[in-house]
């Protein structure tokens, strides 16, 4: 999750911006976003957009990262019934959708519980 940061006023952005929204500076440097955040809103999307049929139904969340930046992302490994406004989440790297026509694989970020199931079981062992 590569965003950027204004060198002049330190404001942070994701997606990256060309011009700082706070002070209009164009002096911005790339900045990796923190992976930790919390849920501000969430939904269970029943119908799929073309290319996402195999994941139906999908859960999406409006996530506020620990630096205050807000974004929308798919929520995975989180039982929908236990999602709440304020739930803590963490970015994970995942395959996003069905392979493209030339076999390309689309990867990107999604958000899951603060500790992934694998980590949890590893700790228990």
């Amino acid at each position: 999750m590569l965003g950027n940061k204004c060198e002049k006023c330190q404001a942070e952005f994701f997606p990256p911006v060309n011009i700082c929204r706070a002070c209009k500076s164009i002096d911005l440097k790339p900045l990796e976003m923190p992976g930790a955040g919390k849920i501000l809103s969430y939904t269970l999307q029943k119908e799929s957009v073309a290319g996402f049929e195999e994941q139906e139904p999908m859960v999406f969340g409006l996530v506020e990262l620990s630096n205050g930046v807000r974004l929308v992302a798919q929520i995975v490994d989180f039982p929908y019934e236990s999602l709440k406004i304020g739930s803590k989440v963490k970015a994970v790297f995942r395959r996003v959708k069905a392979d493209g026509p030339s076999g390309q694989i689309y990867y990107g970020y999604k958000f899951g519980p603060p500790r992934s199931p694998r980590e949890t079981s590893a700790t228990e062992e």
């Binding site: 929204r21 957009v49 974004l71 996003v96």
Partner: protein, 393 residues
């Protein structure tokens, strides 16, 4: 300083919203405008096509020339405007400004859209085109789900229950039940809305505007072009204003406020020398229930978090203080995306010229039309008045 040129809507035309399986984009545009064009002595100085999705829905680009050709307007300058759900509002705004700028004396604005030929997954993709391709569409979120995120936040922030949100589809469908051109001429109870199938929790299918085909047009003319007799039956565009906003609602400092709508409405009312209290009815961009609530609150018609209560109390009914979506709006009349903003203009024209039958708002002198692209990423607000009743001519 000379007084600014006045622009009038002299005539309108439209098709029923719904299924037009057997007709192409050009054919429904022809159906909407054939009477108007036949009865006009000369062709317009320009035609602006409002359409959002023809490339995806009909594999048709170059829509300006395609539609102009189909309407036998060879030689007339033709343009196409695409601004997602706000295409129609944008085209009206541009058409009026072309005339005010003195370049044209008459402009035909034609909104046209075909959605019903697409399979559901394609419809979802088409509706989502208004959102950022790399950071929203890429991850598979639908426009309904995007609205659901906003709706849940709205409900959480102001403690609005699911039942309260249902007040808006109830009002819309009450109005569309008596509108001849509406896609859904059916009333729903609050309970039916609240218990309808979930599309993207907390939004239900009856919160979301249906997909429809349709074409609507309005002939914009300068005051010099109208005889005093014609002027008596024409509607004046008292103001048309537009504003843009951050595309992602979640990047805005105030997420539950529509800044573009607020700015466009304030500017338009100021130019029209009117206060909101003097507006007799509003046509709103009500494609999702929470959009109606937040739009009303952003324009100052309800206090923050109170729009649903006001709707339940009858404030926005046809006989209420501020009637909204008088023929059902996007929700009940139907939502032919790029054409929707022109349907709103036709409906305001019918209100102001007292041709609204069961849906007539009594003594409607001034109407406000709000149209938007995406979730308030752009807003277009027009204030219209009837020359015969505004007391200004």
């Amino acid at each position: 300083m000379t007084a600014a040129l006045s622009v009038f809507i002299s005539r309108i035309g439209y098709t029923k919203v719904g299924d037009h399986w057997d007709k192409s984009l050009s054919e429904i545009a022809f159906q909407a405008s054939k009477v108007l064009l036949k009865e006009e002595a000369s062709p317009p100085d320009a035609i602006i096509i409002a359409n959002a999705l023809s490339e995806l829905s009909s594999s048709q680009g170059n829509l300006a020339a395609i539609v102009a050709d189909a309407l036998d307007l060879k030689g007339v300058p033709a343009y196409r405007v695409e601004a997602a759900g706000g295409s129609g509002g944008s085209a009206i705004n541009l058409g009026v400004n072309l005339i005010k700028g003195g370049q044209m004396e008459s402009v035909l604005v034609m909104g046209v859209e075909k959605m019903r030929d697409l399979d559901p997954a394609k419809v979802m993709q088409a509706q989502g085109l208004s959102e950022n391709a790399d950071y929203s569409q890429f991850f598979g979120i639908s426009i309904a789900a995007m609205n659901a995120l906003l709706a849940r936040m709205y409900m959480h922030e102001y403690d609005v229950t699911r039942e309260k949100l249902s007040a808006f589809p109830v009002v819309a469908h009450k109005n569309s039940s008596t509108a001849e051109h509406a896609q859904f001429r059916k009333k729903f109870t609050n309970e039916e809305v609240s218990r309808s199938e979930a599309v993207a929790d907390p939004l239900r299918v009856l919160d979301c505007a249906p997909v429809g085909d349709g074409a609507a047009c309005a002939l914009l003319v300068s005051e010099d072009k109208l005889s005093s007799e014609q002027r008596k039956s024409a509607v004046e565009v008292l103001a048309t204003e537009s504003s843009s906003n951050l595309v992602n609602f979640f990047e805005r400092p105030k997420m539950l406020h529509f800044g573009a709508t607020e700015v466009a409405a304030q500017k338009a009312l100021k130019k029209a020398h009117l206060s909101m209290e003097e507006i007799d009815f509003l046509e709103l961009h009500d494609s999702y229930s929470e959009l109606t609530a937040i739009s009303l609150e952003s324009m100052g018609l309800s206090k923050q978090g109170e729009a649903c209560n006001d709707a339940a109390a009858g404030r926005f009914d046809l006989n209420g203080q501020f009637p909204i979506s008088t023929f059902g709006g996007m929700k009940g009349r139907g939502y032919p995306v790029g054409a929707a903003g022109v349907y709103q203009i036709c409906e305001a024209f019918m209100q102001l010229t007292e041709r609204s039958g069961f849906n007539q708002v009594p003594n409607a002198r001034f109407g406000l039309v709000q149209s938007m692209s995406g979730i308030d990423s752009s807003a277009y607000v027009h204030v219209l008045g009837f020359a015969g009743r505004t007391g200004r001519n």
